[in-house]
């Protein structure tokens, strides 16, 4: 299978701290990869480098063969769902969709059903400041999926979502994967990653400690679940 996303020798230093030190990682086209690791392992930094929000100290990132750099056009492929985020208080959800559509391209293909799937129809014309945290997170999810991106970058996507919305999101991610989309997702909820991921990458201290399928990991660590397998890897790292 061809790679949709490739991280090659990525290091990232903030001041004197090495957040990432030599990350090599490849995400196959049409697959779901989960990024796992303890807090501060560099998961969010890796996503930010992919999105061009931060610049690698060394190394390069390729998206569909295009080098991530000064040319921002590669991001047209990407739908990004950040962790619970603060959006402009006085705008409505509808205006937010419009502005993102305006900056991407007015003629872009849109998945109108996503609004209904996330039960946002009644909330579109309300200011974002009066929406609950969970509803705002549903707006976030819908924003990432609305433009039918071929790559989904999801940072703790189900944080703050109720059970129904969380299930809707996971079903949508799987459906998009089946349609050929590539997904890179971080989460601390291991059962969620077990449901979603074809492969996982375990980041620790800014480097990749494991990359492969969940079955291979559980077999190798002789554990019954992803959560236990990851805990086992973390214990080994500490030791």
């Amino acid at each position: 299978m061809t790679s949709m996303i490739e991280f090659r020798g990525i290091t990232k230093r903030f001041g004197r701290t090495d957040v990432l030190s030599g990350v090599d990682l490849s995400v196959a086209s049409g697959s779901v990869m989960g990024l796992i690791g303890p807090n501060g392992a560099g998961k969010t930094t890796l996503l930010k480098l992919l999105l061009g929000l931060a610049h690698p100290t060394t190394g390069e990132i390729l998206v569909a063969g295009q080098r991530v750099g000064n040319d921002e056009s590669y991001r047209a492929r990407i739908g990004y769902m950040p962790q619970i985020t603060r959006l402009p208080d006085n705008l409505t959800a509808s205006e937010l969709f419009d502005v993102i559509r305006g900056v991407r391209a007015p003629s872009i293909s849109i998945d109108h059903e996503i609004i209904a799937q996330f039960r946002l129809g009644d909330h579109l014309d309300k200011p974002l400041k009066i929406l609950s945290g969970g509803t705002r997170q549903r707006v976030n999810a819908a924003l990432a999926l609305y433009y039918r991106p071929s790559i989904l970058v999801l940072d703790e996507p189900t944080a703050g979502l109720d059970a129904l919305s969380s299930t809707t999101l996971k079903d949508t991610i799987r459906a998009r994967r089946d349609e050929g989309a590539t997904v890179l997702v971080t989460s601390h909820i291991m059962t969620e990653l077990e449901e979603l991921c074809d492969e996982v990458a375990f980041l620790v201290d800014g480097r990749v400690g494991y990359v492969g399928s969940i079955d291979e990991l559980t077999t190798r660590t002789r554990q019954v679940s992803l959560e236990r397998a990851i805990a086992s890897l973390m214990i080994r790292e500490v030791a």
Binding site: P82, T85, P88, V153
Partner: protein
């Protein structure tokens, strides 16, 4: 305005126009202008007082509101930067989306009471236009300076502290510092260095430009007196306007460079 910059600027401006702080900012100038025009002894005194308020409050409002805005919009900025848009376009859209409503708030607050009075004393219209123009220019300049501060300092409280420090220096302490320099170097020819000092502070420059139109040299401060000595008539206005234009362009350029390189 079309394209990405226009879309972002309109969106941000809409957000600002619905916010309470812009209403309070505009209402403040409206109430102060109306009160000064109604109760001062003559329109010239009212304009002088209004200029003093403008050169204190406009830098404060622009610095504090803009710094807080940049920190508050950080996550939205990240969401925008994750789209296929140039960083410079996002910066321009965010800047214009805040600077334009602030400028309109100032112009409406100070201008409406004058419009209601048919423009006031015809002999003072030049000074009024200069005050409105300088107030707008200071809004643009200090908004750009605030963007530069907030983009360069990660910690929100520290950033706001630096913004307040810049305001204290530019709008409150500057003339005192200049006077101290005059006293210390009184035995040397310091007119030209003082002229440079005046151009080094947009608030001081703006104040002198307005007061020159009112011919009230006693209120200009030492730098103003020196400026009046070197530049009279059109040359003074052109030199001052060029100085203010630099104070708008330079922080915008520096902020754009910082925004392009910044790690979010």
């Amino acid at each position: 305005m079309n394209g990405v910059v226009g879309t972002l600027a309109r969106t941000q401006a809409r957000d600002a126009l619905r916010s309470r702080w812009l209403f309070v900012y505009t209402a403040f100038f409206l109430v102060v202008s109306e009160a000064l025009l109604r109760f001062s002894a003559g329109d010239a005194n009212a304009i002088v007082s209004l200029a003093t308020v403008t050169f204190t409050v406009v830098p404060l409002g622009a610095l504090v509101l803009s710094t807080a805005y940049v920190y508050g919009a950080r996550e939205f900025t990240e969401l925008l930067l994750a789209q296929p848009v140039k960083r410079s376009s996002v910066y321009a859209g965010l800047y214009l989306g805040l600077a334009a409503p602030l400028t309109c708030g100032f112009l409406a607050g100070v201008g409406l009471p004058l419009v209601v009075r048919g423009g006031g004393d015809p002999a003072l219209r030049g000074a009024v236009w200069t005050l409105l123009g300088v107030g707008a220019a200071l809004t643009l300049a200090f908004t750009a300076i605030a963007f530069m501060i907030a983009l360069g300092v990660e910690d929100r409280l520290r950033g706001l502290g630096i913004a307040l420090g810049v305001w204290l220096l530019a709008a409150v302490a500057y003339d005192g510092i200049v006077l101290a320099a005059v006293a210390i170097f009184s035995d040397r020819p310091i007119e030209r260095p003082l002229l440079a000092l005046m151009f080094a502070n947009p608030a001081d420059l703006g104040r002198v430009l307005v007061l020159l139109r009112l011919d009230v040299a006693a209120l200009m401060g030492y730098t103003g007196a020196v400026f009046a000595h070197f530049f009279s008539g059109a040359s003074g206005a052109i030199a001052g306007a060029t100085g203010l234009a630099f104070w708008i362009a330079a922080p915008i350029a520096a902020g754009t460079m910082r925004f392009r390189r910044k790690d979010f």
